[in-house]
């Protein structure tokens, strides 16, 4: 079982002060803490569980600058066998389609049974890369997978999470792309010692020419969509910020609830 997992290093924005940058099309990254995209973490764990069950190996691929090595190392420490980083100045500004193209060029020469990605990323949240990658590679895909039942006779059986608590069970030919939903497993902890142990492991780096691509295939020219503006949602009506100590706030909440007819 050869599994490829596409992963991304993203800034953690929960609880952080977000500032829109000068271009107005992105956010200020300075001062933010970065980590593996949450969904990708589940995808890496799932790949390792598959390896533990069926044997084979796991390859992790990430597109990004040198800092992405951190995320790849983390995956190696979790149990991945090889790591590849795709980097080139012209990759900057790629949308989901362009990223899928870049990834596909790296994946084509490899042998694989499954490709896993996270359902979406925490930063851009398009959810496009997985399905687009499958289309480019001309293989089947299943999105929002919350369970892999098993792999047998060249087919994989998976559960997909649909809205309203519904689940769909799919039987796909492999190779296939699965986009992995959070909660599918319990990702293992990666210790500092574990990361130190893989510090010297090779990370293969590929750029535009090694991938056989032209500048117009990537970045803004190779993308189908353009980000025009990033902004905070306008503050709506009806929200009231309560201030004070924990006790004062609780009292105010109770008063408001009572006023509005609750707690009768």
């Amino acid at each position: 079982m050869e599994v490829i997992v596409c992963i991304k290093r993203v800034p953690e924005t929960a609880g952080a002060d977000i500032i829109i940058d000068k271009t107005g099309r992105g956010i200020e990254k300075r001062g933010l803490v970065f980590d593996i995209n949450e969904w990708d973490n589940y995808a890496v764990e799932e790949a390792i569980l598959l390896k533990e069950e069926y044997g084979g190996s796991v390859t992790v691929i990430s597109m990004g600058p040198e800092e992405a090595n951190e995320t790849l190392r983390r995956a190696l420490a979790m149990g991945a066998d090889q790591a590849i980083r795709l980097t080139d100045p012209v990759f900057e500004g790629s949308d989901g389609y362009a990223i899928a193209r870049i990834l596909s060029q790296a994946i084509k020469p490899l042998s694989y049974d499954l490709i896993l990605t996270g359902v979406q990323t925490e930063d851009d949240g398009y959810g496009q890369v997985g399905p687009t990658l499958a289309e480019i590679l001309e293989i089947p895909h299943a999105a929002v997978v919350n369970r892999i039942d098993g792999i047998e006779g060249g087919r994989v059986k998976v559960h997909r999470e649909l809205e309203g608590g519904l689940e769909e069970v799919l039987d796909l030919n492999i190779p296939a792309v699965l986009t992995i939903q959070s909660g599918i497993n319990e990702p293992r902890y990666v210790s500092i010692m574990g990361i130190r142990k893989v510090a010297k492991k090779e990370i293969k780096v590929l750029g535009l020419s090694e991938l056989g691509m032209k500048p117009e295939d990537a970045g803004q020219p190779g993308s189908l969509s353009v980000v025009e503006r990033v902004f905070f949602p306008p503050v709506g009506e009806g929200a009231q910020m309560l201030e004070g100590t924990m006790d004062e706030i609780s009292d105010k909440v109770v008063t408001i609830l009572k006023e509005k007819g609750g707690g009768a």
Binding site: G15, V33, D35, G194
Partner: protein, 375 residues
């Protein structure tokens, strides 16, 4: 796992254990948890499957109160064996999710509460404290503690302490947002590599600002900086020591408090570091206070179950929380205030006051908060 097993055998001298059971006899959680520290000593020695043993849920029930180690007549270190087993399971990665979150928080944000690093000093926003990284100069570093910095309840302890320090004319500065987790609980959860990383970060700050003396809010920070950091020549004090010393000759806290107060010994301050008298001296110095001691006090004090990572993991047992027993005992002996001097004890005990419905009868307060009331 064979190599790891041999390492445990050697490192913790498991052959030296004569199974007297004094460790388990003193273990506060042994009555309600499956954890049996005596048995663990011999099981690691005799049982085949260490891999299964390190997956046991009850390994996370230990509060690292250290009673077992302190009671062992052979001078063995059963608590450290247990932490060593946690460490093996940390390396495998299969540990409780809430523990993973705490460890990752300490790695990413420098605190196990997963709170933003640049908000670490917000608790002191209006206090105008001196801050070493902002050019502040002082004879002592006030090491605040993650819990005092971020927990809205415990923030009041930090603020009260600042008032106390000012009252006694104690010269201090903080590390502001540059302070990182001391690593005490991280080490006791078995993440030695991360502990070292945090320790190195703090030692770097200590050296950078040429700090010779540290005072801490928490007995956990106190214990680890004093005993785990290995910094010769660095004076480390818990705040109760500083305050007790200051009020010896002339007490600037002259107000009266007509209350019956008892004191809960934090394990990391009392049992583990022998600081029993200073907190009591402070409380007894307050005019009007009737001080009553617990039956189980000082060396025999009952653990509140807040240590050893237990703030981040539910115990596997169903028994009553020890903090609830503690609170009930305090109420039964007529105490109106249950004083303590540790952020974790404060939180677990206050929680227990609520779960036992004793809010009307008993107030849980940090010693610094009591002093502020008698300024």
């Amino acid at each position: 796992m064979e190599a790891q097993k041999n390492e445990l055998l050697q490192k913790f001298e498991l052959y030296g254990c004569f199974q007297c059971g004094k460790c388990t006899g003193g273990c506060p959680v042994s009555l309600k948890s499956k954890l049996n520290i005596r048995k663990l000593m011999i099981e690691v020695l005799l049982r085949e499957n260490l891999g299964n043993m390190i997956q046991r849920d009850e390994l996370w029930d230990c509060t690292t109160c250290k009673t077992c180690t302190l009671r062992c007549p052979r001078g063995l270190e059963p608590m450290d064996l247990l932490i060593g087993m946690r460490a093996l399971s940390v390396e495998e990665g299969h540990i409780p999710k809430t523990i993973i979150e705490a460890l990752e928080g300490a790695y990413k944000y420098g605190n196990p509460w997963n709170a933003a690093k640049n908000k670490r000093s917000d608790w002191a926003n209006e206090l105008e404290l001196k801050v070493f990284p902002q050019g502040g100069k002082a004879a002592n570093l006030y090491f605040v503690c993650c819990t005092a910095a971020y927990d809205t309840r415990v923030q009041n302890v930090g603020r009260s302490l600042v008032q106390c320090f000012r009252q006694i004319g104690y010269d201090f500065a903080t590390l502001g947002n540059d302070e990182t987790c001391c690593g005490s609980e991280i080490r006791r959860m078995g993440e030695e590599g991360l502990f070292e990383m945090l320790m190195e970060g703090n030692i770097e700050s200590i050296n950078k600002y040429d700090i010779r003396s540290i005072v801490t809010t928490s007995p956990h920070c106190y214990n680890t900086i004093k005993n785990d950091y290995g910094q010769d020549g660095l004076q480390v004090s818990h705040y109760t020591q500083v305050l007790a010393e200051a009020i010896k000759d002339k007490n600037p806290f002259s107000g009266e408090m007509r209350k019956a107060i008892t004191y809960h010994d934090p394990c990391f301050l009392g049992k583990q570091n022998g600081i029993f008298d200073e907190p009591r001296q402070i409380l007894q110095s307050i005019p009007g206070v009737t001080f009553i001691d617990f039956d189980r006090s000082r060396e025999k004090s009952l653990c509140c179950e807040g240590g050893g990572g237990r703030m981040w993991v539910e115990s596997s047992d169903q028994g009553p929380r020890l903090a609830e027993i503690r609170v009930q005992d305090a109420v039964d002996m007529g105490a109106e205030i249950l004083a303590t001097a540790c952020p974790f004890c404060l939180l677990t005990l206050e929680d227990a006051v609520k779960t036992t419905g004793n809010e009307e009868k008993l107030r849980v307060m940090d010693i610094s908060e009591i002093l502020v009331e008698v300024l």
